[in-house]
């Protein structure tokens, strides 16, 4: 059996038709039509695209739809150093 903390890890599900599901996201840092930044704990997830729509927002899970061009994972430690 996996550890209890296994099911609380941030997870990103992505398909090639522009649909993404983000689990265990801590908070939304920025949201515009072309960019969304999410605090995933140890990393920041940045999704760039066009016409990004949050189809559902419930609890710690998000469902996102749109034309996704780029996904970036930024380490918070590195961001702090650079800043």
């Amino acid at each position: 059996m996996p550890k209890a903390s296994f099911y609380h890890q941030p997870v990103l599900h992505l398909d090639c038709s522009g649909f993404a599901e983000i689990e265990n996201c801590k908070k939304v840092l920025q949201y515009t039509e072309k960019e969304i930044q999410l605090d995933m704990g140890k990393q920041t997830l940045c999704i760039y695209g066009d016409g990004l729509v949050l189809t559902e927002l419930a609890g710690k899970n998000l469902w996102l739809k749109g034309n996704i061009f780029q996904i970036e994972f930024r380490s918070i430690a590195l961001q702090d150093k650079r800043s």
Binding site: K27, Y31, T32, E33, L52, V53, L54, T55, E56, L57
Partner: protein
């Protein structure tokens, strides 16, 4: 589906920190959907129940919320107010489903073909069992006994549970008959010439080619063995003889017959909730042919606790039919052949001779048949 019951509101939120508003909604378990970012805020959809909470959160974070469109839930008090029929309809339906367990809603068959299903359905109807009647053990038991008495089924069950009657059966397998003991002879039933002798037991007293007379002993059940001892047995077998028989038939050239000229189907009654409701009383005459049919009622494939009684009425009227000579001759010949078949069901016709007598208003036909028929009949004698 959930939104049909709860209703939803499309809103537009603008303000200084829309992301904080989204995060606070998540923290307070306020579900949002179809969130689309705009230049200075976002628009989305929320359930009617959570909208007041969302507005309070938005005010706290300095966001202005504007309602764009509202879809009310399907089932609200307005749905029922001044429409008492809707509440009554729902209550009646609940009563029918929960309180009518003893009502026959549907009759289903397991392991029966279409013809057998129709036959059993008719037999059940004759014993007061059909869709729409109140069922009790006594009625079911009587119907079961009545159907079993006909002797067609070796095993039949009528299982009734919560409105559903399931019929299962097994066909009757005839048990072999025990051979009777005793002494019997075979006597001739015709005048003719023997063509074939197939005797399995008894003392054969005839032979192929022999001329026989009616009542002549052909096979004897008593015979003596080489020691002179008299033995008895049942005479069994088949003896065929060639016979000549004549029949006469008269066929008029004009005949009045009842011919069907139209058919109509009329729904006469509906049986529902144990009551028979008359719909229509069709006008029929003595010459009409009436066929009664019982059909279970369904609605879009769902069984209703009701049976429709229907009558198929074929109207006939007397009509004079004129035959040609040839048609009259054929009809008379067919009549003669029918007479032969009635007297000798297994006759094999070898030749037939026709004599026709023409009369003013018809034909008289005499036919003579030469046929092979079964000539012997077993007769029990005292030992």
């Amino acid at each position: 589906m959930h939104s049909l019951l709860t209703g939803k509101i499309y809103f537009y939120a603008e303000g200084a920190s829309p992301e904080k508003l989204l995060n606070e909604c998540r923290n307070q378990a306020v579900p949002l959907s179809h969130i689309k970012a705009t230049k200075i805020g976002f628009e989305g959809c929320i359930s009617t129940r959570h909208y007041p909470i969302f507005v309070r959160i938005a005010e706290r974070y300095g966001c202005k919320v504007e309602m764009r469109k509202q879809k009310k839930p399907l089932l609200t008090a307005d749905f029922f107010i001044k429409r008492w029929g809707r509440i009554c309809g729902v209550l009646v339906m609940l009563w029918v489903i929960a309180g009518c367990n003893r009502l026959v809603w549907a009759i289903r068959f397991d392991g029966l073909n279409v013809v057998q299903q129709q036959e059993i359905r008719r037999q059940l109807y004759e014993n007061g069992v059909c869709e729409g009647v109140w069922m009790d053990k006594e009625t079911l038991s009587k119907a079961h006994q009545a159907i079993m008495q006909k002797g067609e089924y070796g095993w039949l069950t009528l299982n009734f549970y919560r409105g559903r009657l399931i019929v299962e059966k097994n066909d009757m397998i005839a048990s072999p008959e025990l051979e009777e003991k005793g002494v019997s002879d075979i006597y001739s039933t015709v005048d003719g010439m023997i063509t074939e002798v197939k005797v399995t037991s008894g003392d054969i007293l005839c032979f192929t080619g022999q001329q026989i007379a009616k009542g002549q002993l052909l096979v004897s059940g008593r015979y003596t063995d080489r020691d002179g001892k008299v033995l008895t047995t049942r005479s069994q077998g088949e003896i065929y003889a060639q016979v000549q028989c004549s029949y006469q038939a008269t066929q008029p050239l004009e005949q009045t017959v009842q011919l069907a000229h139209s058919t109509e189907i009329q729904n006469t009654a509906v049986i529902a909730f144990g009551k028979r409701i008359l719909l229509n009383t069709p006008n029929t005459t003595a010459t009409d042919q009436i066929k009664e049919i019982q059909l279970p009622l369904t609605l879009f494939g769902f069984a209703l606790p009701a049976t429709l009684e229907r009558q198929q009425i074929t109207h006939t009227q007397p009509q004079t039919v004129t035959f040609t000579r040839q048609q009259a001759l054929e009809l008379a010949k067919m009549s003669c052949r029918n007479q032969l078949e009635r007297e000798y069901p297994s006759a094999l016709v070898q030749t037939e001779a026709v004599q026709t007598q023409v009369q003013e208003d018809g034909l008289v036909v005499n036919m003579t048949f030469t046929a092979i028929v079964q000539a012997g009949t077993e007769t029990t004698v005292a030992e």
